[in-house]
């Protein structure tokens, strides 16, 4: 800690920060633009000017920019003297000379950092009389809207896009008053983190396009703390609602996980909740039915054996309720055959070692990635690893007495001070291209090398009998041995448990200095790891059971075509099937009970680290929808099974915590704390929005004892610091930058309410995993097909969001150019494998292991083979047909978007009011 004097008052601040950061940490209002807590300082905007004095006697002082000045013991500055105040006002005045008269029609309005800073500096009247510069906008894809006139040239966008996230198709162009931030030409922004520009840009140059289509001001939206549903990282998001529909997802600061940024799948994927394909009605054999119908009651109440199929897309509570209802011996955790083994192993590893949070990953000084493409399977994790790659450069500048947050200096020395990244695996990706040590191999070889690597690091580690450590493995062993903070990353994508076991062995060999992270595919995959500890049924066992006796099936929703096809087979054999459906699917189940989406009810999931995270409802349920667990409780009552006594979510969670002691009081809320209002203090239109339906303003519906209220009646988020914030706002700070008012320092101590329990107690002593020959010696003929993922397409849930459907990639088959030559194929041709109906577009890449092909199959298609021998290439006619089919689909997407848009606008006017008290 050092003591500094600001406006003659003494403050204690921690060392190593810059003055701007220190002022903001002290909750003093100092305007700024170009500085960003995660991106460091470059001193581009001069907005944060303050006066520094030599000593007490100095009365003139000199002007400095706070973000470029490290705090020093005894430093004296003034923020509010006449000189610097005038200077800051003039900086804004200059920025405003060419700023368009747009606020009323600007989607940033009401949460604009530029508006806030302008008010803060006191600038109010335009002094410039000349004509304004104007710019043409670019088309940047379906996610982001460009309105270049509003730019204040702070350079944050390119610094984020290029430096922080590694994109290269956005750049600063031209000069002076003509400075332009855009692409070379119109086109979709390529980076999977492009959506963050919306929050990074302090003005309305980049705005959220899908949100803009169905727009509402920030002050008008009821928000809820929520969790991203699209991968196992479990980034914290905030969902906003207006007139009964969810409008957008924004980043919710979390010190451990996402920090300030999300990936685009998370930011835009939530939109599936507004999909017209959402199940809204109870159905019996395809026809709308009512709960009271006798036939339905008979079906649901039928005795006999029930088998439950859980889903890693459903909440922990739903899966647990299902498991309780049918019994652990009748619970199948999912329809993917490879997954249960991975689940089991992931759980076992979590019981031995804690896993690194993203914040911890950013501290690494050596990284090993074993057979996983985290750029696609856990995008935000890849972004964290990217930041770790700067650590050596940061150490270097520090040794030269330059602070670590001097971003330009760090980037200057980066090429000569790389953090070693070791990559074993296949496929091209951003991290792969930056690897220092690379070994191109399939998952089996990667696992084998992993085991051998552990053997190189420790004598005790079991190694496979066959195979030799490659040169890369010995290099890797050397690097990891010398690293202070090595990070080991793997995942489930290849479907090979050996990779997980290998990583655990390397972790054990390296000891506690190493950190481990394993990416799971779905947001709640690890939740199922917890539930199946007491036993489970595999998909094969379910099939067998169905063959032997009449069995009723009870299924939670699955979001992939692969599971869907398995399910279709099972349904045929089952006596009857009841589906708890979120989205309409083909296939004939006997009864369908519509479940509420994550935006409409509370729930929890366990992320890759074993961290339990809960979400709150942002809007109300519509139609017949109910939370999955609630349907299951009703079923339990009809069938007189355990669970029948559960009245509310609290009791269910209590039961869950009883079964899994470690969960303890994850969900306990302090009953003496007042409820938090989900609506901001200036939420407008309350006495008019329902007036066309009733002028008697109905009382807002309130869940009893809920820690959040879907109304203004509760304390605002600032006054309840122990609960996750629904939205971030502070007087004078309407933009997302207000978050610094809630935190001590960037990635400092966690925000209140964010220290969540870990579902797996690390009580077991660690053990070595033995190599199993079956992990590598699978029989096969022809070429092995290795699975590949894509950001937009591999997750079936986000694929239901129109913007993401528009961007999703079509099936691809990658091969080496040599192989393509041999097979007589060319890039871009459409290919079929063996007799599978799926057409895949051939791609050429050097990053394909010998004797293998890489197949990316979107979640709404399936390729149920792991190897193939024969290929069929589409002829001209077929290719045309495929293209036409695709065009047709895109046409359909656009059409559906149109109808959805008018449907949503209609709903705004006639808000579904089923759950509002005082009306029925």
């Amino acid at each position: 800690m050092v003591q500094i004097f600001i406006d003659k008052q003494a403050y204690e601040v921690s060392e190593g920060q810059n003055l701007l950061q220190a002022c903001l940490s002290l909750k003093l209002n100092l305007p700024y633009f170009c500085w960003h807590p995660a991106m460091g300082s470059v001193g581009a905007c001069r907005q944060c000017a303050v006066t520094q004095y030599k000593d007490e006697a100095d009365t003139r002082g000199k002007m400095i920019v706070a973000c470029m000045t490290p705090v020093e013991e005894g430093m004296r500055v003034s923020l509010n003297g006449p000189d610097e105040t005038h200077f800051r006002e003039q900086v804004i005045a200059a920025l405003m000379t060419h700023h368009p008269h747009d606020c009323p029609v600007c989607a940033e309005g009401g949460e604009c950092h530029l508006q806030d800073m302008t008010v803060m500096t006191g600038h109010y009247a335009r002094q410039f009389k000349g004509r304004k510069t104007s710019f043409n906008n670019q088309y940047l894809g379906p996610l982001i809207k460009h309105e270049m006139n509003r730019c204040i040239t702070c350079f944050r966008c390119v610094r984020f896009y290029r430096d922080y996230a590694g994109g290269d198709d956005l750049s600063a162009q031209a000069s002076k008053n003509h400075l332009y931030f855009g692409r070379q030409s119109d086109g979709v922004l390529e980076s999977e983190f492009a959506g963050n520009l919306v929050e990074v840009c302090p003005t309305g140059v980049f705005t959220d396009k899908p949100f803009g289509d169905h727009y509402s001001r920030k002050w008008d939206m009821q928000a809820a703390p929520s969790i991203c549903q699209h991968c196992s990282v479990g980034c914290n998001i905030s969902l906003s609602e207006r007139y009964g529909s969810v409008r957008r997802a924004t980043n919710r600061f979390d010190a451990h996980l996402n920090g300030y940024f999300l990936c685009d799948r998370g930011r835009y994927g939530f939109d599936f909740v507004n999909s017209p394909a959402r199940c809204q009605q109870i159905r019996l054999r395809g026809k709308p039915a009512r709960w009271q119908d006798e036939q339905l009651q008979d079906m649901l109440g039928s005795s006999g054996r029930w088998i439950g199929v859980g889903s890693s897309h459903a909440s922990l509570e739903d899966n647990f309720a299902l498991q309780q209802l049918v019994g652990a011996e009748n619970f199948c955790p999912g329809l993917d055959d490879a997954q249960p083994a991975l689940m089991k192993l992931h759980g076992e590893i979590l019981q031995q070692y804690p896993m690194a949070s993203l914040a911890e990953m950013e501290q690494a000084d050596a990284v090993l990635i074993l057979g996983e493409d985290i750029n696609r399977s856990a995008p935000r994790m890849a972004l964290a690893v990217r930041q770790a790659l700067l650590n050596k450069a940061r150490d270097k500048v520090e040794s030269l007495k330059v602070p670590r947050w001097q971003d330009a200096a760090v980037r200057q020395v980066l090429p000569d001070n790389p953090v070693p990244l070791i990559w074993f695996g296949y496929g091209e990706s951003e991290l792969q291209s930056r690897a220092l040590v690379q070994c191109l191999c399939d998952d089996q070889e990667a696992a084998r090398q992993g085991f051998l690597l552990a053997g190189l690091l420790s004598e005790e580690a079991p190694v496979p009998q066959t195979g030799q450590a490659s040169q890369q493995s010995s290099q890797a062993a050397e690097i990891l041995k010398n690293a202070r903070n090595p990070l080991l990353i793997g995942g489930w994508s290849a479907g090979n448990p050996a990779l997980l076991a290998a990583l655990a062995n390397i972790r054990k060999a390296l000891g506690d200095k190493a950190r481990l992270a394993i990416a799971a595919p779905e947001m709640n995959s690890v939740g199922l790891s917890l539930l199946i500890q007491s036993g489970y049924l595999t998909q094969g066992a379910v099939k067998e059971a169905l063959e032997q006796e009449p069995v009723n099936l009870l299924v939670l929703d699955h979001q992939s075509q692969a599971s869907q096809s398995v399910l279709t087979l099972l349904v045929k054999k089952a006596r009857q099937t009841v589906r708890l459906g979120l989205l309409e699917q083909e296939g004939s189940q006997d009864a369908l009970l519509p479940v509420a989406a994550f935006s409409e009810c509370s729930g929890s999931a366990i992320n890759y680290q074993g961290r339990v995270q809960s979400w709150q409802p942002a809007s109300k349920m519509t139609g017949d929808c109910m939370p999955g667990w609630q349907w299951l409780v009703h079923l339990a009552r009809m069938q007189q099974r355990p669970l029948a006594d559960v009245e509310d979510l609290g009791q269910l969670r209590h039961k869950l915590a009883q079964c899994h002691g470690q969960l303890g009081d994850v969900w306990r809320t302090d009953p003496h704390q007042p409820a938090v209002a989900q609506q901001p203090p200036r939420y407008s239109g309350r006495t008019a929005m329902l007036a066309n339906q009733t002028v008697h303003e109905p009382k807002p519906y309130q869940e009893p004892q809920a820690p959040y209220r879907q109304s203004m009646e509760g304390v605002d988020t600032r006054k309840c610091p122990t609960r996750p914030m629904p939205y971030s706002w502070w007087p004078g700070w309407n933009s997302n930058q207000s978050v610094h008012k809630f935190q001590d320092e960037y990635r400092g101590p966690a925000l209140p309410g964010q220290t969540r329990s870990v579902a797996f107690a690390h009580f077991e002593s660690s053990c070595w995993f033995k190599w199993r020959p079956q992990w590598s010696d699978r029989e096969q003929v022809g070429y092995r097909i290795l699975p590949l993922k894509q950001i937009f397409g591999s997750d079936g849930l986000s694929l239901k969001a129109p913007a993401i459907e528009e961007l999703h990639e079509r099936a691809q088959l990658w091969m080496t150019p040599q192989l393509a030559d041999k097979l007589g194929m060319q890039a871009g041709q459409w290919v079929q494998c063996d007799d599978q109906p799926l057409w895949m577009q051939a791609g050429l890449s050097e990053q394909v292991p010998e004797g293998c092909l890489l197949a990316y199959v979107p979640a709404d298609e399936a390729l149920p083979v792991t190897s193939c021998e024969r290929f069929a290439v589409a002829d001209l006619q077929q290719a045309e047909a495929i293209e036409q089919q695709h065009q047709g689909r895109m046409e359909g997407v656009r059409e559906r978007r149109q109808t959805r848009q008018s449907w949503l606008l209609h709903q705004d006017e006639f808000i579904p009011i089923r759950f509002v008290e005082g009306l029925n």
Binding site: D102, T133, S134, N137, Y180, Y683, T687, A691, D908
Partner: protein
């Protein structure tokens, strides 16, 4: 005693003053144009809707009786998809008019708004919109704003230079 007599005299003299009370409703008092009565939505000089659905009136309203939803038309203009004022809640304070950046929402001197049914006091956009410009003729927001709409490309707003050629090397 004297002061009481003076008071009585003054009251007596008032009997011969000009009368302020009028025989409403047969006779109507003059209300200034700035009088705060029934609210209307006006049009710009070209006859287009002035309201851009910015929501500022709604947020300024102390009784929260304005609700609207933004939509964007083919021509690039922001418009309210619906615009509702619940006059049974409105207190005619005029804050919405103060807040409106486009002069769209204006209060008029029409104060005769009694209804037997409260729900008849709920006005939608079609009830609120008038054909004229109201008290502030001549102002068109889109002529000042930087966004492009149909009929006004980038650089064609008042006080705007033509769009920059980013490829040019000249400063």
């Amino acid at each position: 005693m004297w002061s009481q007599l003076v008071t009585i005299w003054r009251v007596f003299v008032h009997l011969f003053d000009k009368k302020d009370t009028v025989q409403y409703p047969e006779q109507k008092p003059y209300l200034a144009p700035r009088y705060r009565g029934r609210i209307v939505l006006t049009r710009d000089p070209d006859g287009d809707e002035r309201c851009v659905a910015c929501n500022l009136c709604a947020v300024a309203c102390p009784v929260d009786c304005i609700a609207l939803q933004k939509t964007e038309d083919e021509d690039g203009r922001w418009r309210p998809a619906f615009f509702r004022i619940n006059f049974s809640r409105c207190i005619m304070c005029g804050l919405c008019e103060e807040a409106c950046p486009t002069y769209a929402i204006q209060l008029t001197p029409d104060v005769e708004m009694c209804e037997y049914e409260r729900k008849n006091l709920v006005y939608e956009k079609e009830h609120l919109t008038i054909d004229g410009q109201g008290k502030y003729p001549g102002y068109s927001f889109y002529r000042k704003a930087g966004i492009a709409i149909k009929g006004k490309a980038k650089g064609e707003a008042d006080q705007e230079k033509p769009p920059v050629d980013v490829r040019s090397l000249l400063p």
